[in-house]
Symmetry: C2
Subunit: 257 residues, 2 copies
């Protein structure tokens, strides 16, 4: 019997050096704070990064979707709550709610996020059987009655009968600061790559409402990443990140309002 509750909550404040040109929390920081909260949740319950490394395992994020209705401003207080939704054989779903806790008032939900994770063997890089190896502990905390009323990961097809109507919008050579402790590009860096496909002018009239990223393959120091963007609807873009071998590294979707 576990005695901890199923959710973990972190209380945060929007620090000025993590805001954008309009004094709003930037997406990369929000993403990092979601993952930090997830890590805290997992650590306290015995399946954190330092617990699973004992079996030479590592968490790998496969999908992330963040939807935000009202991004908090500089010095605003907000909180992140996370919980495990479901556990499958190869994947587990982890959800998040983001709330404004301005002036100590009753929290108001300002966004949600969904993520899909696998655990890999660090040697073989293969996914391990989650149910077999961690099913008991993960499932004892899973809760699918908690509400996460945003669409699951949105998979966007190329718009024109599979023909490529995309253009290369950005080339990024992977630098040392992109690399995390897993030896590959920090998953939150992709949020910034995607955000930086749009100009400051564009952001003056459009607010990013939702971002989806599918992590397909890993990128390493020195890789040359090319980002292609395709507009699929008035305020909607599909993005593809490829490496120098033309392998797909990540796929993204961005919705503005």
């Amino acid at each position: 019997m576990n005695t901890m509750k199923k959710t973990e909550t972190t209380n945060l404040v929007v620090e000025s050096f993590n805001t954008d040109f309009e004094r709003r929390l930037n997406f990369e920081t929000l993403g990092k704070n979601l993952l930090n909260c997830a890590e805290l949740h997992a650590n306290k319950r015995g399946f954190g990064v330092d617990d699973i490394i004992k079996r030479n395992h590592a968490w790998v994020m496969a999908r992330l979707s963040i939807e935000i209705f009202d991004m908090p401003y500089m010095f605003d207080e907000y909180s992140i709550t996370t919980w495990v939704e479901k556990v499958y054989r190869m994947f587990t779903n982890r959800n998040f709610s983001i709330s404004s806790t301005l002036n100590g008032q009753r929290p108001t939900v300002i966004g949600y996020a969904r993520s899909v994770w696998a655990i890999i063997d660090k040697e073989t890089r293969e996914s391990i059987d989650l149910e077999n190896e961690y099913g008991d502990s993960l499932k004892s905390y899973a809760d699918n009655e908690l509400d996460c009323p945003i669409q699951p990961f949105i998979r966007l097809k190329s718009s024109v009968n599979g023909q490529q109507s995309t253009t290369v919008e950005m080339v990024h050579k992977v630098v040392a600061s992109d690399i995390d402790y897993n030896g590959h590009v920090n998953s939150m860096k992709y949020i910034t790559y995607l955000c930086d496909l749009f100009s400051l002018e564009y952001y003056k009239t459009h607010k990013l409402k939702r971002v989806d990223i599918a992590y397909v393959s890993e990128a390493y120091f020195g890789d040359t990443l090319t980002l292609s963007r395709e507009q699929t609807d008035e305020n909607q873009y599909r993005i593809e990140v490829k490496n120098q071998k033309n392998e797909i590294i990540a796929r993204g979707m961005m919705v503005f309002k």
Copy 2:
């Protein structure tokens, strides 16, 4: 009479998504946390960003020097303490100490930082007279008895009789995520630019011990920055950041061990 103490301390933990490939806190996050602590100090004492904006003023950092002896690891606890050292007519010096607070033990100093600030009029972009306009409040908190035993800002001359022996090492086009609420490149981004002049291989055998940055001019969205690096000693480099008009934006110095 002010009743607040002269120093402000923030307690922090190294979050996993703010670490480098060796699980150590990255320099950009450390720099941001120094500034967040400075902001907290200033806000609580009546000369924060939201106080001085009432006179249409803004804080501008002119110099930053960070020296770290032992960068904390993932999940380590640490604290930052800041205080105003001196107030001059056009500048004020703010210092920092960084301490490890691992396992609730007595804090051990692991680094120091020094910074030099001006306040500008947001309209004219000219520095204002600090002593006249904010001298009373700033000086009442100034303390130059607190120890900050690192060299002040190191000004490096070009090594070869003023001849340029530097080579352009990196070209960076300023993107939306680089821009802060002042409308220019976030001062902490320069730390990352500098750090990214070195390869992952280099960092495997060299640890960044000290970084100095002089903020000479502002960079804006769409600017093309070129970074030149010149080795001035075995483990010491001088860096120059210029924009597309060949204007110097920043000068840096990095010391490795």
